[in-house]
Symmetry: C2
Subunit: 417 residues, 2 copies
Amino acid sequence: MKSDLDGLMQTKKLDAILVIGNATHNPPMYYLTGGGHVSAAILIKKRGETAVLFCNDMEREEAAKSGLKIVPMSTYPWQDMLKEANGDVALMSAMRLQQMFADCGITSGQVGIYGDTDISSTLATLTSLQRIAPEIVITGEPRDNSLFMYAMETKDDYEVARIRRMGKITTTVVGRVADFLTNCEIREDEVLLRENGAPLTIADVKSSIDLWLAELGAENPEGTIFSIGRDAGIPHSVGTPTDLLRLGQTIVFDIYPCEAGGGYFYDFTRTWSLGYANPEAQKLHDEVKAVFDKVQENLDLNAPFKDYHRMVCEEFEKNGHTTPLNTQAPVDGYVHTLGHGVGLNVHERPWSGLTVGDDNILKPGVVMTSEPGLYYPEKGFGVRIEDTFWVRPDGKVEILAEYPYDFVLEMKKWKKA
Amino acid sequence: MKSDLDGLMQTKKLDAILVIGNATHNPPMYYLTGGGHVSAAILIKKRGETAVLFCNDMEREEAAKSGLKIVPMSTYPWQDMLKEANGDVALMSAMRLQQMFADCGITSGQVGIYGDTDISSTLATLTSLQRIAPEIVITGEPRDNSLFMYAMETKDDYEVARIRRMGKITTTVVGRVADFLTNCEIREDEVLLRENGAPLTIADVKSSIDLWLAELGAENPEGTIFSIGRDAGIPHSVGTPTDLLRLGQTIVFDIYPCEAGGGYFYDFTRTWSLGYANPEAQKLHDEVKAVFDKVQENLDLNAPFKDYHRMVCEEFEKNGHTTPLNTQAPVDGYVHTLGHGVGLNVHERPWSGLTVGDDNILKPGVVMTSEPGLYYPEKGFGVRIEDTFWVRPDGKVEILAEYPYDFVLEMKKWKKA
């Protein structure tokens, strides 16, 4: 949680942090500012002190909504500084940054840098800063276990409420997609038809998904997976836009939208077969569902997340599938890890891979996915089932948005001959 | 254009470029790959050679759509490398990057780095790389005049067609907003009402805008400005969600959406007053429109963009406004520059500020905005008019999407007493 930041900074031996970039679609900046139309901002937080947000003068009122201490950029007259720097923009940015640090009481020490931003200009600035202020040491760290990944790992009630709301939006959209598909007319060759009689494509379905998400106040900056047949057997194939929807083919529908404006995510997957199912695909779905249920029944407060991933590997191996436990980088069978945390990042701590640190546990406040899957692209199918769970302070683990697990969706205007 | 990249690399003394991050919402990577669901990829292009795209194995089919040479990440077994690096993730990433460079024939030289990405983990990797491969020098450069800003500055016909299509979508949405507003019922106190009789808020209007954009295949990752009254007088205020729509108040509507999935942008602004106008605001609108027209009439092939900005300053100064020409960082009057290029970035070269380089000219293939404005927040209004223009190869300059410039929008269900 946010209140853990100072303690985490101490553990990581950081005297201050520097966060850069926009407030939206930039998790560390969003986390500290609450989003808003604040672009190309600079935030400096000395350990134990309140963060200071340096922002464009034109965005000062937007920035003030963050509740942080706001300093307008005009405090540092860049035109004069640029003259002083002989027109060297990177040097001017470094001089300005040095001054901002000084104004926050920082003239030396270890400073962690965070934010999604333009790497090129940032590196140019940091290279100049190193030259003019070598006693300020700016350091990065690998993302998966960075300061913010640790802080964000546990959510407060307000954050959980927002993720739950996104879960409601997500399952509402999934329900609309199911209704829409099952009400389609079917051509003789089992292709679904649009109202105008044209065959229904993956692109059509995706454009309805985008529309419904926007209508409900969400967006999908990372896209949506809606893939059929062989594509469904490739976990990260998002689907081929021109593919037609057909009865009896496996559809993997993985939807991971966030609040409009770039806030909290939800992550959810169902696998469907319209009208009827290939018996082999049905068997695969039964297997995945059984493992999904077994994981859910066993989820326990403070248990290591990777224990459940190992459990899934072992269950699948009993049925003869390759998994990360018996094969390095398998390409079919169970080819990914069980899940991940969900918050301002669609993927964040805790992690569940076999080799992750022992501190990836189901602490109170964790929000994470369970998403076992089995993939056989050459057979023309794949199955994944995913819900997002919350580890409650009372130790119970609940799904944040319930939705049925049916594999075969009954078609309203078609009956099996 | 893309074909300029090798020449520009030579000018900038770069032996290679390294582009990192996702393919969407990351202009340099989108530019070279064409977008697609390719996340956390690494692209290396040696000068004079075709780019190589290193991607997650699970995204290999998506990556192949780029037409580039694809190398799956599994070529570099990270688990073995991580052992070799004693668990140091940043060092492992650096070792892998060094190997990728070697496989592209690069063991030394100057390498420019580009992309919007997580600064923290990237800096950690680069710091390790510097240690293990000091003969490869990775350099950044200030964004405004970077390699990609120069390459992207001129568009080919395919790019212009895509921006024009976004212009059509943008003006369609603007037209729907105008229709919607002018058909509202009006309360006694001149507040607009929704169909259900509740007062219409800025948030309501914005959610309709988002919906219509999604429906037409666009998104607005940077938001939309729809601000009324005093907010309209603050150029980058995006509007207060709970503000009510009222007759006779100035509305600044600045909309800058991009293709769904994070492609080309359009940029467009109109200023409206519903039903009737404050005479002072009307006068301001007339002034801005006259200057807008004067700029448009004078746009000339290969002219310096900043000459038009200076022209606008001079025109406005004649009428007693403060401008960047007579005041450093003015807070009312004309407070920004005339315009900017538009493409995969909503703001890109050419630039129009008074101090920009002389090479910011209206070359054939440039797509840029003209957006003069005047702002008086304390008087409760501001005015901006903006269109996006294309400098055609034949030297003519055309607006990519036409739309009327009316300030007062006539209300269908209301008449001035």
